[in-house]
Symmetry: none
Subunit: 157 residues, 2 copies
DNA sequence: AGCAAAATCACCCTAAAGTATGAGCGTTAA
DNA sequence: TTAACGCTCATACTTTAGGGTGATTTTGCT
C-alpha cells in the first residue's frame, strides 16, 4: 500500500526532501549572486533565514512530543469549594496514563475526538484508542459519563 | 546489533548527517564565492554564529532531561461539590425551557438520549429534538461541550 | 541489552449522536 | 381567537462515538 509506505518512511522522506530543497535553494542563490554580483548581505541574510526556519522547525519537531504533565503535591485540610484541587490518588486508583489524562481533560472541555487529535498532533485513531481505554478505566459507557465521573473524582475541574 | 543501534540513534544520526552535509555545502560555496568577493568575513561570521547557536541548541535539546511525571502524595479528597447555586439569570439569557433544562441536567450526568427518554417517559425522538435545541441555544456542537458550558453558566452542578 | 508499558495508528463494524424537516396538540398572551 | 410558544413525535439522513483487533514504535525500568 502506498499509505503504509508513506507512514513507514515519512520522517526519512521528509528529511530527504528538506535537504534536497535546501540544496536546490543554495545552488540557485549561488548562481544568481555570482551572475548579478550582488552584495553578500542578501546571501547571508537568506542563509540566516533558512537556518532560522530550520531551527524553528526542528524545535517544534523535537519539543512537541516531550511535553508531559507534572502533578505537584497537594496539601491537606483545604476545604475550598471554589477552586479545583487535582486528586492524585484518583489518578493512581483509576490507572489512567498521562496521555489518557490529557485526552480526558480536553474531552471534558467538550472537544470532539477529531479536535483533540488536532490539538495533540496525533491521529484520530489514536484518540479513539485513548478514549476507549479511558471509558474502560473509568467504567463509563459514554464520554459524558466519563467526564462526569472524572469530575467527581477530582480529575478535571 | 547494528540494526538495534540504527533504530536507537536513527534520529541523531540523521541530524548529524544533515548538519555534515550542510557544512560541506557551505564549504564548497565558500571556495567559489571567495574568488569573486572579499567581504567573506561577514558572511562567515554570520554563518558561524548561526551554526554555533544551532549546535548549542541541538545539543541542549537532545540531551535535555525529560520532564517526568511525578505523582507525589496524597491526599484528602475534599467533596468539592459542596454548594451549587443555580444561576437563574443564565437560564434567562440562554432561553432554555424547563423541559430542556431537565434534559440538560440528565445529560450532564452522562446519560444517553435513550436513557433520558426512558427517565422522562418520552420517546427518543423527543429527546433528540430537545438536545438539538439545547446545543443550538448553548451554541455547542456536542453534548460534552454543552455540559461544559452549562456548568460554567451555573445551570448544572 | 532486554522486557513491559505506553503511545501511536489502521481497519472494520455497530451504536449513538446530531441535522433537517414537518406536524399535531395544548397553553397562553396579545 | 389566533399567533406564538413549548412539548411531543416521526422519518430520513449524516456524522461522531465506541468496540474489537492487530500492529509498530517509543519509552521507562531493571
Amino acid at each position: 500500500m502506498t499509505t503504509a509506505f508513506w507512514l513507514k518512511y515519512r520522517s526519512t522522506l521528509l528529511y530527504g526532501l528538506l535537504l534536497a530543497l535546501l540544496l536546490f535553494l543554495l545552488k540557485w542563490l549561488e548562481l544568481r549572486l555570482i551572475m548579478v554580483n550582488h552584495s553578500f548581505e542578501i546571501y547571508a541574510g537568506s542563509i540566516a533565514i533558512i537556518f532560522t526556519a530550520l531551527g524553528i522547525w526542528l524545535a517544534v519537531k523535537l519539543t512537541a512530543p516531550k511535553v508531559k504533565t507534572v502533578v505537584v503535591e497537594k496539601q491537606v485540610f483545604v476545604d475550598n469549594h471554589a477552586e479545583f484541587t487535582f486528586n492524585a490518588d484518583a489518578l493512581q486508583t483509576t490507572g489512567l496514563s498521562t496521555r489518557e489524562l490529557d485526552v480526558l481533560q480536553l474531552m471534558a472541555q467538550g472537544l470532539s475526538n477529531q479536535q483533540i487529535a488536532d490539538r495533540l498532533f496525533v491521529s484520530l485513531n489514536t484518540i479513539k484508542t485513548h478514549t476507549s481505554k479511558i471509558l474502560e478505566k473509568l467504567e463509563a459507557g459514554r464520554r459524558t459519563q466519563a467526564v462526569d465521573k472524572a469530575r467527581k473524582l477530582g480529575l478535571v475541574p
